[in-house]
Subunit: 244 residues, 2 copies
């Protein structure tokens, strides 16, 4: 069988996340249905990440095995013409049979966008988290440094997943500011459940003065979820890129 790799963009607003489930519209199911319509094959696709409901992706990666004769690069159009507007195949190609979107992944970059203004927000609300109290970006930037590196991030994880270790390496964490828009980029070799959203919630706790940048070191060492910040809503989160 041939192994096809897909790069997928989607707007997660109207999805119950990536992973196929008995009820509810999911990205995985919508793509599998489109592939069935294109090839007649009932295949299962492997996604690089199981994004939650409301989370978006600029470059999610998936792969699937097929007996179809459609050339690798032609799957893009064949699937796209059968997809709803909120999911798009950006690229398709045939890859070696040992490629697995999830297990072959070496790391990922996510972004999270906050709009920091007093006034309520409607324009772009599916993609932005509105935070009304003034945030100190310089303190937040200083705090980023404490996250970078190989650490046990169990304080920044929601329960609900079975994993062997809570140690991960954050390669990069930085903030871009454009007017009242604050965009946080984070790259790691892997992420614990809700890890990005809890790190962002913790950065907000630093930005509003409830924590100091230096506290991050202690929270990581202590591993106490309660001392970290809240898990911010999914809509500000975008899976930007997956590395192999």
């Amino acid at each position: 069988m041939r192994n096809i790799k897909l790069i997928i963009e989607f707007d997660g607003s109207n999805f119950c996340g990536w992973q196929r489930q008995p009820k509810g519209r999911t990205v995985q199911k919508v793509i599998e249905t489109a592939i069935f319509k294109a090839t007649g094959e009932e295949i299962m696709i492997n996604g690089s990440s199981r994004t939650d409901a409301g989370v978006h992706a600029r470059e999610m990666v998936a792969n699937f095995l097929t007996n179809s004769s459609i050339p690798g690069d032609k799957f893009r159009e064949a699937i796209n013409t059968r997809l709803p507007e909120d999911v798009s195949i950006i690229k398709s190609e045939e890859v070696s049979e040992d490629f697995h979107a999830r297990y072959s992944s070496k790391g990922k970059t996510y972004s999270y966008t906050i709009v920091n203004r007093y006034e309520r927000l409607s324009l772009g609300h599916q993609y932005l988290y509105h935070y009304k109290y003034k945030l100190d970006i310089n303190e937040m930037r200083r705090a980023c440094e404490y996250f970078i590196g190989r650490h046990d991030f169990r304080a920044f994880m929601s329960p609900g997943s079975s994993i062997k270790t809570t140690t991960r390496t954050i390669q990069d964490l930085y903030i871009e500011q454009n007017g009242n828009e604050i965009k946080i980029f984070i790259t790691a070799d892997g992420f614990l459940y809700n890890m990005v959203r809890i790190i962002v919630g913790t950065l907000i706790k630093i930005g509003n003065g409830k924590l100091e940048a230096e506290n991050i070191k202690d929270i990581i060492e202590e591993g106490n979820r309660k001392k970290a910040g809240m898990c911010v809503p999914p809509n500000g989160l975008i899976l930007e890129k997956v590395f192999y």
Copy 2:
């Protein structure tokens, strides 16, 4: 009666436009309903523009007359708490009784955003117009100059509105480029029906080589709608600001 001015932001994706109509969810009706809940008054609000379905606003202006005792600046919260997520009052204030959001307006700025890339687009599709063929931005920028000034813009108007004159003054028209995102800003003392969307469609016809910048002069003089470009979809359009 007191006259209250509102500045309104809305995501037009799930609205049948601004203006109240017998059927369909409109921004005007949603705000009037919220005001009724806040004051008990069945009022009618005047909007600065009658935006079409799918068009968004960063700073739409409206006004209404009220006997309520709510202070001018407190209407914002009083209305916001009764509004759905896709409409927000950004500011409310009491103004002199001769202020009318539509008739007092001296001009408006709209923006229209195109994503110019071959790949299909899903992320942000409610706010962006996807155009897949390569656009020559320099030619489009050169064409902008021919639109600026006081002209008869009947070639850039859809039928369906009753107006006295088709002459308008475009004060400013320019393009910002950021990667594959092309953002067109246009400011005029007033706009004909679909004028912004037809001007954008005409700029696209220049960008893809079907027209030359110099042709704009002739199209304006001739006033022939058929020689101008298509009316691009509403979703890329944002009412940015109204001037008084």
